[in-house]
């Protein structure tokens, strides 16, 4: 017993470190637990409130009201553009047109970017619209130029957005003229350039082709512009395709959140399919 007490008293700094590291380990392992997420969303809220105060000053200088009025107009126009673009693409199929109408984004919520981080430790946006404004996790965030990202955390008045230029972001995309499908993922080298993956050599792709979000996406509405193809390199089995993103992330001030989330049944089904294919295929497409 005396030896044990002596051991503890002589090594207590190590034991303390072990204890704290254990707590940190538990926090890492259970970071998706509801209560922890709740705490983090409160932290996000606090951080966003302060950030908003800071950004308000600069916004005031750049005619805040005028910008918000323009954003509202943009959101109305964007809804029309997406609808018309899709109708045009799908005009050959009445069935598809009808399904578009049911899938059509009833409304788009405008929001302002109150915090933007792009450094080696964080890469995210915080917008000033949260659950009170109807924002939910996994909604698509966009601008009239194209897709910005997806909502990953929501508090009462703010939401955290994972941008397209994040290493963990994936989205299903389709090219406009050849209808080639693939997964868009950002490789990290250049802010404006992402890569389109899983396009087999048998597919047709052209430089300058525009890419839109595909129907397969579990969070993004169909037909949101994503970017255009700037380079196509054939490799062993697939093409390596470089895509210039249509959104300038360095100049983002206002965004729109598409008020539609994927059908949970579809998500569940895709998740099941992904789990099954993971066991059989080594190279599987991630859920996007």
């Amino acid at each position: 017993m005396t030896k044990l007490i002596k051991f503890f008293s002589s090594n207590n700094a190590y034991l303390l470190l072990l204890f704290y590291c254990g707590v940190a380990g538990i926090l890492i392992k259970y970071q998706d637990v509801y209560s922890l997420q709740n705490l983090l969303s409160r932290g996000t809220e606090l951080r966003a409130v302060l950030s908003q105060q800071i950004s308000n000053i600069s916004l005031y200088l750049s005619l805040q009201k005028e910008n918000e009025k323009l954003t509202l107009q943009n959101s109305a126009l964007l809804a029309k553009v997406i609808q018309q673009g899709n109708t045009l693409r799908e005009s050959v199929s009445t069935y598809h047109t009808a399904s578009f109408i049911t899938d059509n984004p009833g409304s788009i919520i405008p929001a302002r970017v109150v915090e933007r981080r792009f450094n080696t430790r964080e890469n995210l946006l915080i917008i000033n619209a949260g659950s009170k404004q109807g924002i939910e996790k996994d909604m698509a965030v966009l601008t009239p130029d194209g897709l910005v990202g997806r909502v990953i955390q929501v508090s009462n008045n703010y939401a955290k957005v994972m941008p397209v230029i994040h290493s963990e972001f994936n989205v299903s995309v389709v090219s406009d003229s050849n209808n080639t499908h693939g997964i868009l993922r950002w490789g990290g080298n250049q802010e404006q350039i992402a890569q389109m993956h899983y396009v087999p050599l048998s597919s047709s792709v052209l430089v300058e082709e525009k890419l839109y979000t595909a129907d397969f996406s579990t969070f993004a509405l169909r037909g949101i512009p994503v970017g255009k193809i700037v380079k196509v390199v054939p490799e062993k089995r697939f093409y390596r395709i470089h895509v210039q993103l249509s959104v300038d992330f360095s100049a983002l001030t206002h965004v729109l959140v598409a008020k539609k989330i994927a059908d949970p049944e579809k998500v569940e089904l895709m998740r099941g399919a992904a789990d099954n294919s993971e066991s059989s295929l080594q190279e599987s497409t991630p859920l996007n």
């Binding site: 983090l40 932290g43 606090l46």
Partner: protein, 164 residues
């Protein structure tokens, strides 16, 4: 003692806010100095390893809650406090001002590089190639933090540590 601890904790939390809202906006090539680390180093050098580790843990919780990476921040900051604690200057130390300064600089450098390495091993949000990730997330961030630590020593900590 109690008052001292409370003061350190309040200051640490205040610095976490400053770090989040001011310093992290000064990113150069994606890296920025970490003033929370500097304060943890100061506290560890002044009060010892156990206190340094505890302050690191508390600072990690605060930074993680504000930033979103609760577990990783807690782990890296705790380790920073522990590492810096190896260079503590006891109250009855007869070390010269130069020796104390060297101890503090060594603590700042090693704590920063250890903390950044732990963080970089777990997070690569910009999907940088590994060599660049190490250069930016560890090398450059450590360099900036060390420069800030030197400035902090000259402006604030010198009087306290030398007269300790």
């Amino acid at each position: 003692m109690f008052r001292n601890t409370v003061t350190h904790i309040v200051l640490l939390i205040a610095l976490c806010f400053v770090q989040q809202y001011v310093v992290s906006r000064l990113a150069i090539f994606g890296a920025f100095p970490d003033i929370v680390t500097i304060y943890i180093v100061f506290a560890a050098v002044r009060h010892g390893q156990k206190q340094g580790t505890t302050y690191g843990f508390i600072a990690g919780l605060a930074t993680g809650t504000l930033g979103g990476n609760l577990g990783i921040e807690t782990l890296s900051k705790t380790i920073e406090g522990f590492v810096a604690g190896y260079f503590d200057i006891p109250e009855d130390s007869h070390a010269s001002a130069l020796q104390k300064k060297r101890r503090y600089y060594k603590a700042a450098f090693l704590a920063s590089i250890t903390g950044r390495t732990v963080y970089a091993l777990m997070v690569n949000v910009l999907s940088l190639p590994i060599p660049w990730h190490i250069i930016y997330s560890v090398g450059l961030a450590t360099l900036f933090t060390f420069i800030a630590a030197v400035l902090a020593y000259q402006l604030f900590f010198k009087k306290i540590l030398v007269n300790n």
